[in-house]
Symmetry: C2
Subunit: 204 residues, 2 copies
Amino acid sequence: MGRWEPNPRGRLEQAAMELYSERGFDSTTVAEIAERSGLTERTFFRHFADKREVLFAGASTFQQFIVDKVESAPSDAAPIKAVGAALDAVGDFFEERGDFARKRQDIITANAELQERELIKLASLASAVADALRRRGVAEPAASLTAELGIAVFKIAFERWIDDVGKRTLRESIRESLDELDLVTATGSSREPSPSKAPRAGKR
Amino acid sequence: MGRWEPNPRGRLEQAAMELYSERGFDSTTVAEIAERSGLTERTFFRHFADKREVLFAGASTFQQFIVDKVESAPSDAAPIKAVGAALDAVGDFFEERGDFARKRQDIITANAELQERELIKLASLASAVADALRRRGVAEPAASLTAELGIAVFKIAFERWIDDVGKRTLRESIRESLDELDLVTATGSSREPSPSKAPRAGKR
């Protein structure tokens, strides 16, 4: 196949995902990805640092998408609402990438090293959201905690969406998890009152 | 030094922690740990699978401690309260191990591979807590979400306790984070109401 074929990056990505699904991530080489896509290894490395990058290249775009949404929430929105609004928009981000996301998740679930990488990605996402909240003037520990809650909601919604193909859209799954967050925290204080209860954290 | 000295495991642990702090985790060998403790490499491997194990051997004990507390909460306690009660007890678990925990955290913070391992440990802890909640009859996604909230509270409280030496006990730090969880989620719904609001998650 000739070099004039369009979208080399997309073809490399597709070939890589097919091979990771068929043979497993560890057993696939860059040479095989290049061969299947009809391109060269050199072209592969012009687009991706390594074969893991095919699976994680979208992570920084996604992180920026979330951070932008948190920052552009109305300035008087409570932190949890700013994060909720960002999560409500996540469905749009994945709308065109549903098939890729599902295949990707299957590949990651099958490989311990990739699962670790995914955990690091989520931790980095939580950090970036906490930074965005601090830029909105949210103090600690509220910023970090709210960011972690948001990532927990996203993680669970995403897993449920992936697990039950066709049962709900990602947008619906995220809404369910956000509703569930309200429910599980709406049962009053998260612990039994104690005589030595500390002053409210917001005053610090 | 003779083999009749007591507590070989404790001496190996102390020697390892000293060396990790002085030279870094990567630059320390098991031979050096054995030498400093006055014991043999063979004795080291009778107590620890490898040098990383010195830092993570307590993880399964800790996980079991938390799971037991979640399971032994009053049967009518809301999921978030069962987790809150378990977290309230965590201060006791670390009371005798504060120095070790701080040193350990410094060693982990200095090493990317150990940080990844720590993230995996926390993910496994969240999984175990979700399992414990399901055994209490809590449905999904409430069980997973509540478990993730609990781990988020613990993670942030632990970091704040480590960062501000002497400012607060771990118990106080956990109480602050639990209070903060109430605060950040008490601002009503976690997102703006939408016309197409899904039915409450609890009914599914």
